[in-house]
């Protein structure tokens, strides 16, 4: 039988599977950030003046702000002048030519398992593929438009549906929301735009795949999803990046608007490059995601599997304004080596009889730090609000940390708010039981961890669930032996 902690071996680095780079001509603007750069990005995208003004206001606000330091992560100093804010891998060497997709780009996405040819696509999934600052291709656009569904890059949406974008952009996450939201609002590049018209059930999964490729660039994705009355959409997001010794900055904003009786499911499998076993490099993932449940009986569900990034700072949140609205947050966050994650959610109950559920599973290994941070607020008029939160942490090894920071603010006496959390190490009796049945310890840990995360994995669409399960095992490989 295993002695105490014997199974926790020193960490061996498992190669990051998506760490290759793509050799493609990429137009990168000069490093640095100032008003001219903001104007240049806007000009490159051919944006209308209102959007340029929006960006400039955000930029002017950003320069007055300090980078926040409250999260339980050690964010390395970021030199915002050493980053290039726009990289276009679709730009041709000579101007004036019709843009075609470089075969190298197609190959890249093939290699990532995201074929961009519709005939090869995963069944029932439409994809918007974004590399660096530009959307490379969006599949099944035409098919979706038959139902009146808009699914395209946000740059295209600004050109084609400016009124729709203007009506909603920045209304869920205003640029003043936080430091990184202000930065994103100033320099955001591509991301997806989704509009589901009234009483429409989106017939396929919509998905955006984000890839950082170019060196010394940041990615500032911006996604906006509007689900109109009585409609439904399930949206998936995946992310990878090459292995580089320097940190790469990813500061995204996702805004979701859910109207009366509509439902949105948003799933993320985040596998940005986490840095090497010594903690060099990796993506700094500083993201603001928020959904506004404006409509009565609207529903929003966030599901996230977070395995990548050197630093994760991310709190997909829900503002429950509509009476009877329901929100869910399901999260598995795995940290290994020197990764640090501070992630969780905010549930702001405003409407009457609103309900939210939070299920968070943290798994820490190596020398990593994994924190859950969440806020549940029940405002004065939110009669009958209910929240249930459960946050469990699992520690693999004695060099890592697992932390839980829930905040509850209840201003209504008809509300019921419940939070529970446990922190423990992997159950040795379970391990022993598996061992006795002939299962190796490493495999047993994989099994147990997957079982531990099951409540969350079950919430993912099937294609993603399988991927996420593999990812959990891979992320933990080498932590036990």
């Amino acid at each position: 039988m295993a002695e105490k902690n014997e199974y926790v071996k020193s960490v061996v680095k498992k190669e990051y599977e998506y760490g290759f780079t793509t050799d493609v001509h990429t137009e990168i603007i000069d490093k640095g950030l100032n008003e001219d750069v903001v104007r240049l990005i806007s000009a490159k995208k051919g944006e209308p003046d209102w959007l340029l003004q929006f960006r400039l206001e955000a930029y002017r606000y950003w320069i007055t702000q300090q980078q926040p330091s409250w999260a339980h992560v050690t964010l390395p100093p970021i030199d915002y002048q050493a980053i290039s804010y726009y990289a276009d891998p679709t730009a041709r060497k000579k101007d004036g030519e019709q843009k075609e997709i470089d075969p190298e780009l197609m190959k890249t996405f093939d290699k990532l398992g995201i074929p961009l040819e519709e005939r090869l696509a995963l069944s029932g999934t439409a994809v918007d593929a974004v590399m660096d600052s530009v959307s490379v291709k969006t599949t099944f656009k035409e098919k979706l438009s038959e139902k009146g569904i808009i699914f395209c890059s946000i740059s295209e949406a600004v050109r084609e549906y400016p009124e729709l974008v203007r009506q909603y952009l920045g209304t869920v996450v205003p640029y003043r929301d936080n430091y990184f939201a202000a930065l994103n609002s100033a320099v955001f590049s591509d991301g997806s735009f989704v509009y589901i018209p009234k009483n429409t059930r989106c017939p396929m999964e919509l998905s955006t795949y984000f890839r950082i490729n170019a060196m010394n660039t940041g990615q500032f994705e911006r996604t906006l999803i509007v689900c109109d009355e009585g409609s439904y959409v399930s949206y998936l997001e995946g992310c990878t990046a090459p292995m580089r010794d320097e940190n790469q900055l990813h500061a995204a904003i996702v805004e979701i608007v859910v109207l009366d009786n509509a439902e949105v499911k948003y799933s993320t499998v985040q596998n940005w490059y986490p840095g090497d076993s010594e903690g060099r490099g990796g993506v700094l993932n500083l993201v603001t995601k928020r959904g506004h449940l404006r409509g009565v009986n609207s529903k929003l569900s966030w599901t996230q599997v977070e395995t990548g990034s050197a630093i994760t700072w991310k709190y997909p949140s829900c503002v429950l304004s509509g009476d009877g609205s329901q929100a869910e947050f399901y999260s598995v966050a795995v940290t290994n080596n020197h990764q640090e994650a501070d992630t969780g959610t905010k549930m702001i109950h405003i409407g009457k009889n609103t309900k939210s559920t939070i299920i968070s599973k943290g798994i820490s290994a190596g020398r990593s730090q994994n924190s859950y941070r969440g806020l549940v607020r029940v405002t004065k008029n939110a009669d009958g609000a209910r929240n249930y939160s459960s946050c469990d942490s699992l520690l693999l090894g004695n060099q890592c940390g697992a932390h839980t920071f829930p905040y509850m603010d209840v201003q209504n006496n008809t509300a019921t708010v419940e939070h529970e959390a446990t922190t423990s190490k992997i159950n040795e009796d379970q391990l022993f039981y598996c061992n006795q049945r002939g299962i190796s310890t490493e495999e047993a840990v994989g099994l147990i961890v997957n079982g531990y995360a099951k409540d969350v994995l079950n919430k993912l669409p099937m294609e993603f669930a399988v991927e996420a399960q593999k990812l959990l095992s891979v992320s933990l490989e080498g932590t036990v032996g």
């Binding site: 004695n398 839980t404 209840v410 201003q411 708010v417 959390a421 922190t423």
Partner: protein, 408 residues
């Protein structure tokens, strides 16, 4: 004028007088503490641990400072700090957080305090009771200091009562209190704090506990009536197998404000901590509970349970709850739970079906809710007294009865 300015001026005016009335070990740390306070000022709500209480506003009124020494009834184990039978330098201001502005202000202004000292293997059979009456005709600031030293194998029970008294309506009281508790190996301390003051009283209490190997400490903080209360308690389990129980209950009504902020730090292996805080909030009262369990890397085999349960009984009461775990050791069992809820409707219905009027049924349920904390108190006389007090408090008979007792 910023709130801190009057205290800086006060110190400059009276520090010589304080020093004359005080003793060398207390004076030795006084100026340094004042410098910390002057440099930092009062904590604002931007500071994580002071999120829920507006300190500068609480200290803004103009209070007279009391330089009278506490009257100590001569009894075994209890002394003035200035007449301590032992060298207090290894203890005084040693575990109090020097960087905390309120501790620093207390250290600068306090001229004497109380020492509870129980020598090796001795047992104070009778509970040591410290009563603080807040009454008088001038608005006063009181700075209290308590040092509790239990040597190896010693045992003691200490009860601190804060009581309001009869005073004109426009008079208010501000208390700062710093308590340092040293529990040497295998010692055992029960420390109770019962606050029954009135809406004119503000209280800032910082309690620091150091528990060594095989010692056990039980701290109960009970707020029945008050104005504004901010209790901080930092407990350090520094020796193997130390045990800590940190419980509290709060009854809030009208515009009471009660903020309990605790840190339990497991520094050594195989320690156990249990925490249970319960609040019943009525009227416009505001309750806050923030409790952190911090488990150091070497504190393997830690067991820790933290529970915060709250009842908001009126539409205008507000509760903040923030139970936190920060864990750096893997072989631990740590749980926390927090609830803010309404009364059990099914239980209410059951009781009403038996003919019990709704108001009485609610009262019984509130009592039962608080019972979870009081039941755990081993000292029978105190437990029974608290049952009665709590029931009276919920019946609204409290002030009347207490006033009678205080009048005599």
């Amino acid at each position: 004028m910023k709130s801190e300015q009057q205290y800086i001026e006060l110190y400059n005016e009276v520090n010589q007088l304080i020093k004359q009335k005080s003793c060398e070990p207390m004076n030795a740390v006084r100026d340094a503490a004042f410098q910390v306070f002057r440099a930092q000022g009062f904590p604002t709500q931007k500071l994580e641990r002071y999120k829920y209480t507006d300190v500068p506003t609480a200290f803004a009124p103009n209070y007279g400072i009391s330089l009278n020494s506490a009257a100590i009834n001569p009894s075994q184990y209890i002394y003035s700090i200035s007449a301590a039978p032992i060298d207090i330098r290894p203890y005084y201001n040693k575990i109090a957080d020097a960087a905390d502005s309120i501790t620093a202000l207390n250290t600068a202004l306090v001229h004497d305090g109380i020492l509870v000292y129980v020598p090796k293997n001795e047992n104070s059979d009778v509970p040591i009771q410290i009563d603080n009456h807040l009454s008088g005709n001038i608005s006063t600031m009181l700075n209290r200091r308590l040092l509790i030293v239990l040597e190896q194998g010693a045992q003691a029970t200490v009860i601190i009562n804060d009581k309001g008294g009869v005073h004109p309506d426009d008079i208010s009281f501000l208390t700062t209190q710093v308590v340092e508790v040293f529990c040497q190996p295998n010692s055992h301390l029960d420390l109770y704090e019962v606050e029954e003051t009135d809406k004119s009283c503000s209280r800032f209490s910082n309690v620091y506990i150091r528990a060594e190997r095989d010692s056990s400490v039980r701290h109960n903080s009970i707020t029945l009536t008050n104005g504004l209360t901010r209790n901080l308690c930092d407990a350090y389990l520094v020796g193997e197998n130390a045990q800590l129980t940190l419980n509290g209950c709060v009854i809030g009504s009208e515009s009471q404000h009660i903020d309990n902020n605790t840190l339990i730090r497991h520094c050594a292996p195989q320690c156990q901590s249990d925490q249970l805080y319960k609040y019943v909030l009525d009227g416009h009262s505001v309750g806050a509970f923030a409790g952190k369990i911090l488990v150091d890397k070497d504190a393997q085999k830690t067991t820790s349970q933290e529970t915060n349960a709250n009842l908001c009984a009126s539409p205008t009461a507000r509760m903040y709850s923030q139970p936190m775990l920060e864990i750096y050791a893997d072989d631990v069992k740590c749980n926390h739970g927090s609830t803010v809820g309404v009364m059990d409707e099914a239980a209410l219905f059951y009781m009403r079906q038996r003919g019990i009027p709704e108001a009485e049924a609610r009262m019984l349920l509130k009592n039962a809710f608080m019972g979870g904390v009081i039941d755990q108190i081993p000292l029978r006389s105190l437990r029974d007294r608290l049952y009665v007090k709590i029931e009276k408090r919920f019946l609204g008979e409290y002030e009347k009865c207490e006033a009678c007792r205080l009048c005599k």
